[in-house]
Subunit: 449 residues, 2 copies
């Protein structure tokens, strides 16, 4: 890793050049590099944690003056229980994943002595733009090295001291390995994001990790493909046959286990026939957890008669805008729908294509919901909060994508790969093949992988 | 198919709605629709060919006045030998391909009763912008229906009469099938491309089929992902150990079998050690086919002494710009390089990541070249012109992509698919899982597909 104060253009050019070497390194060299990075970070714990303490101190001061949120300060803290250990363990976890480079995904015999092979390869140069969390730098650097991609890292200013300390250590560790200089670069100069986003000639993919505002700004400011999601407006459709206890458990988990997460529940759609019997205990469980229910008129009328006056008084009226809002807090919009078709239509219109669930006992309705809802995750009787690379068993994730192409949902190493087609021939030319008389035909025989 | 003079916004909204239904149709319904389209077009041959004759007549007139190129006029002609039959056969070929929808590509047992499945699904709404060739409309409509994607088609004005005739027939045929209205729409109103390119809320992917200028304009004018290639600057590296006859055959085929194609050769890189013995017969074969060689000084000096004065007089001097030029004609830029590393470096800097080849007897050098060159196609001892969906055995292609994400090289049905993650649970919640005491662990068992 270079700690660069070079211009964004120089950094991107160097990363591109390094990417061509990195792409050809055997997995042993990439894994050895990760082992070296892990050892070096473990040895430099004190020095990194004191750099982090300086960031924290500055952030706490800024928070006292109302310039930073308390949650951001908390995300900065590398000394928090288990965080340092998780960061180090993450590097070895990534190292121990299956090599994603050079996997053969198609082999066809085009003709005698002429073979087509499709083989996975790194995308090239990634630009990762992230906000506070300092541990992300080790995480992302590991994923980049493992997948054979060069990476340019641009972190938020609140964790500059931590970033510099970590990247100095990673840089020194990588210098003694086969990973070329320039393959992992931390850009520390300020205000360079617009310049980086302009370098589509050198940068192949941008991955923003941060607030909706950051992601939206990046998506609208570059021709480079962006992998990620701006919004996470997840919905659950509560169908009349759902088990009441199960419904309450799943909805409470989806809404309250981490309300600020992108995979948390924001809109609850309730089948009309479920308003009277099924919804009230669910609403009670949510209110008991501190959730504020913003209800449409039918929902409010149904609940008002069935909750205690004390609870009923807590119900709020939903506006139309509430069904297009990602609250990221303990507020939930609740709407009545007449049937599953209306629920699907609502989700496909107002959702963010992140993760949506149906709660029902009918497998037929569940399958209809899962094939009709256009989202990265479609669940049956499970919490929306399962949308996560670790929970899916991907080892780690670069983020969650709501894109409609390339990679969707939690993105692990696979999402950092593309492929190339190789042909091995013996001097074959195209002019001899065709449909006419005297022309050769292709064999197109599928070969084993 | 609707023949719409509706606004681009209305067309896109309708396509989005239709896409949600189309995505849930079983393969039998999608195949039946293609059978119906095929029969209807076959029955309407006379009426379509006379519409095409009107386009042709107008185009010939425009060509006489120098307003259209002769090659464009030729591409318009649906009556040309075999073209009509190929168009019809193409529809049945696509129908008979394996269903790309609903393929399970990953299954994981997350925990007892909690299963994760990754299943392929259509991307959603495609916008296809194409220039003259009227047969493309049938081709693309078939691919869209088969893959479960809605499509908005916008054709070039030169083939308007043909497009309208074909789309009226397809429209009537589809109306009697399960494919929803609005799933395939031909936009015939003029000057709507900028408006369509702005509708990223409804359109998921743009596929331009046409000139470099069209593709470049589209790539720089939309936030919607664009699948395709602007340039096809293909290179061959002639290594000293290559068989002379093989080298001449492959290079002549790559350059001359269809010089205007994107997969044709534009730059020949010759190892210095191959200049004296290997290059001259290759150059002779090229010149005999009418190829103009633009040589750097070392190449020119080597050839000048070894070709007849008559042939040597035909050699031209290459400028730096020639090595960044897609000639699309019988001009070839030729450059000496000292070794394979310089060749790889040149291609990774000046190429367009489309298709590049090495001619050599060394498998070691071939593998180095194929892993180091960053292109959709990397070939060993085979013509660059094999880069084609039909030749790869994909049945048909929507185009060739030089993108670094999603789909690369010839793009068939697979490139029109994405996936979604499904979870089937029994009321599972996330809060009970974790590393701490009393927490459950995920099982993450790989299941058979």
């Amino acid at each position: 890793m270079s700690l660069t104060s070079a211009s964004p253009l120089e950094a991107a050019k160097a990363a591109k050049q390094a990417s061509h070497v990195l792409a050809t390194l055997p997995v042993s060299a990439r894994n050895d590099a990760l082992t070296a990075v892990h050892a070096a970070l473990a040895a430099a714990k004190d020095e990194i944690l004191s750099a982090n303490a300086r960031d924290l101190e500055a952030a706490r001061l800024a928070a006292e003056h109302g310039e930073l949120s308390q949650s951001l300060v908390s995300r900065l803290d590398l000394g928090k229980k288990g965080k340092w250990e998780d960061m180090l363990k993450g590097i070895l976890d990534v190292r121990d994943l299956e090599d994603p480079v050079g996997k053969i995904t198609l082999r066809t015999k085009l003709d005698d002595g002429l073979e087509l092979t499709r083989v996975t390869c790194p995308i090239g140069v990634l630009l990762i733009i992230f906000e506070a969390r300092p541990e992300v730098i080790a995480n992302i650097a590991s994923l980049a090295v493992k997948s054979g991609n060069a990476a340019i890292l641009k972190g938020g200013k609140e964790s500059t001291e931590s970033f510099i300390a970590i990247s100095k250590v990673i840089s020194a560790a990588l210098a003694a390995t086969d990973v070329p200089n320039g393959a992992i670069q931390l850009v520390t100069t300020r205000d360079v994001i617009p310049q980086l986003l302009d370098l589509d000639q050198y940068i192949d993919l941008v991955i923003p990790r941060g607030s909706n505002e950051l992601v939206r700004y990046i998506k609208s400011s570059t021709k480079i493909p962006v992998l990620g999601h701006a919004d996470g407006l997840c919905s659950i459709f509560l169908e009349q046959s759902a088990d009441p206890q199960m419904a309450a458990d799943v909805i409470v988990d989806s809404k309250t286990s981490y309300p600020a997460a992108c995979n948390s529940l924001e809109t609850l759609l309730v089948q009309e026939a479920a308003l009277d019997a099924l919804l009230p205990p669910v609403a009670q469980a949510l209110i008991a957890k501190g959730v504020v229910l913003r209800c449409d008129s039918r929902v409010k009328a149904a609940l008002a008669g069935r909750l205690s006056p004390e609870l009923a008084a807590k119900l709020e009226n939903a506006s139309d805008a509430d069904f297009d809002t990602e609250f990221l807090s303990l507020t939930l919009a609740v709407k009545a729908v007449s049937n599953i078709h209306e629920a699907i239509g609502h989700i496909n219109t107002h959702g963010s294509k992140h993760t949506d669930a149906i709660l029902t006992q009918s497998s037929e309705l569940a399958e209809l919901f899962m094939s009709s809802v256009d989202a990265a995750g479609v669940y049956w009787n499970a919490s929306t909060r399962f949308a996560d690379g670790m929970r899916y068993g991907f080892g780690t994730e670069v983020g969650i994508s709501t894109n409609k192409i390339h990679s969707r949902g939690p993105v692990g190493l696979e999402g950092l790969m593309i492929y190339k087609y190789q042909i091995r021939g013996q001097g074959h030319v195209t002019a001899v093949y065709g449909e006419g008389e005297g022309k050769k035909r292709f064999k197109h025989e599928k070969l084993a992988l």
